[in-house]
Amino acid sequence: MKKLKKTLIYLFLSVATIISIYPFFWMIVSMTNRSVDVTQGRQLPGTYLFENLRKLFDQVDMVTALTNSAIIAILSTFFTLFIASLAGYGFQMYRSRGKDIVFNILLLSMMIPFASIMIPLYRLFGRISQTAPIIGIDTLAAASYRPLRPLFSSSSLDKTRRCSRKT
């Protein structure tokens, strides 16, 4: 009975693993195939890897795309660490009634769906980059908007964890 249960668990996990990993495998295999073969679901690696890569760099400005992604990734990581750790330290080490209230108000911003502020943000960034044209709209968006989220996911997690320990 115990053995059967063990086998079932391993079987279940193996199936889940295959489902999880398969799309990655297929993505890598498809890298080496022609588009026609990909749409027909070819499973074996082909010989078109370099041709595909050449096509990619010919048709799309990959260098710019990668540079942009890198700028956004680096800036937003930097600001995330900087702003969130500053605020986390301030809220935790200098606790006061006022700050607790402010923290809870800020926590509400987590409930704001991105879709609902997308258009005002678009207009806001448009206005900012008009007055300060050197700062691109994308850089601004990445560097200012994205870092704010992790502050809350970590702090609220911390809160829930404290709750769970209490019970």
């Binding site: 889940a16 990993i21 879709a115 609902s116 502020i117 870092p147 996911s153 769970s164």
Partner: protein
């Protein structure tokens, strides 16, 4: 006393940047969206039109379809994913399990993919001559390929499967880290009292994980209400508007059709209202006092 106020103001300095930034990038846009919902016009030429946008909401067939679709995704996908993630985390928390690290990594792996990339892969996998159809035909489960993407019902199934694939491992990690905080001796005591593993799961694991389950349910609900990338890339909202989501409709209203920021902002407030209502319900159901 003087030192105390001094210390307090230093604390305010620490939180100043985040307060300013969140006000500028979350609360101000919320307020701006509210103002926008009373305006109409093309692009940037807006004028106040009172409540016309809000009354248009009530008789908008596309919005109704988008709401139905989004609620369908929500009601089917979130419970499915939460249960699955709980299941995985309990299995993978067993210290006697071999290859635990490997299984954990494998199941978490989908969470690192970019939304657009995995959506495109799912689109190809579920195409008429894609591998899913080939597999099902080889197993003799179907005699003819299913048109997953162009069938209104199957298209929704594909989208739900895709989201579940992407986010189950992500939610599992939250449960795993919470499970590590549960004292093993509680389970031992339960076992001595004769509780089987199912009873242990219902009476110990679930109550202990309740705060985290609530947290993941709310974040998943918010996430699903904002569903965008998957729908746009897998079906493009089609066939017709059968799989369109609210976010995609807002996007279409603002940037694809004749730009109408005013009405788009009004529709976006529908999401805000939904999020608030659903979060209150979820808090009530979970019975949180705090």
């Amino acid at each position: 006393m003087k030192q105390l106020t001094n210390k307090n103001s230093i604390g305010w300095l620490f939180v100043l940047i985040s307060v300013a930034a969140i006000t500028l990038f979350y609360f101000y846009p919320m307020f701006d969206a509210l103002l926008l919902s009373f305006q109409s016009g093309m692009g940037a030429n807006l004028e106040y039109i009172g409540l016309a946008n809000w009354s248009r909401l009530l008789n908008d067939p596309t919005l109704r379809q988008a709401l139905i679709n989004t609620m369908t995704y929500l009601i089917v996908q979130v419970p499915l994913m939460i249960v699955l993630a709980l299941f995985f985390s309990v299995i993978l928390n067993d210290p006697d399990l071999k290859f635990r690290g490997f299984f954990r990594t494998a199941i978490f792996l989908p969470a690192v993919t970019s939304l657009v990339a995995y959506s495109v892969i799912f689109k190809y996998m579920f195409s008429v001559d894609g591998i899913v159809n080939q597999l099902l035909m080889n197993l003799n489960m179907i005699s003819e390929p299913i048109a997953f993407i162009s069938d209104p019902v199957w298209a929704k199934v594909v989208i739900i499967l895709a989201i579940t694939w992407r986010w189950t491992g992500y939610n599992m990690i939250f449960y795993l880290s919470a499970l590590q905080n549960i004292d093993r001796s509680i389970y031992e005591a339960a076992r001595i009292d004769g509780a089987n593993s199912f009873q242990q799961f219902i009476h110990i694991t679930i109550p202990m994980l309740k705060p985290i389950i609530l947290f993941t349910t709310i974040t998943s609900t918010i996430g699903t209400l904002q569903l965008f990338d998957e729908v746009v890339n897998i079906t493009g909202g089609g066939p017709g508007i059968q799989t369109i989501s609210i976010s995609q409709y807002i996007y279409d209203l603002s940037f694809k059709y004749t730009p109408n920021f005013g009405y788009a902002a009004t529709v976006s407030y529908v999401i805000v209202i939904l999020v608030v209502i659903l979060s209150i319900i979820q808090f009530k159901v979970a019975g949180e006092k705090e």
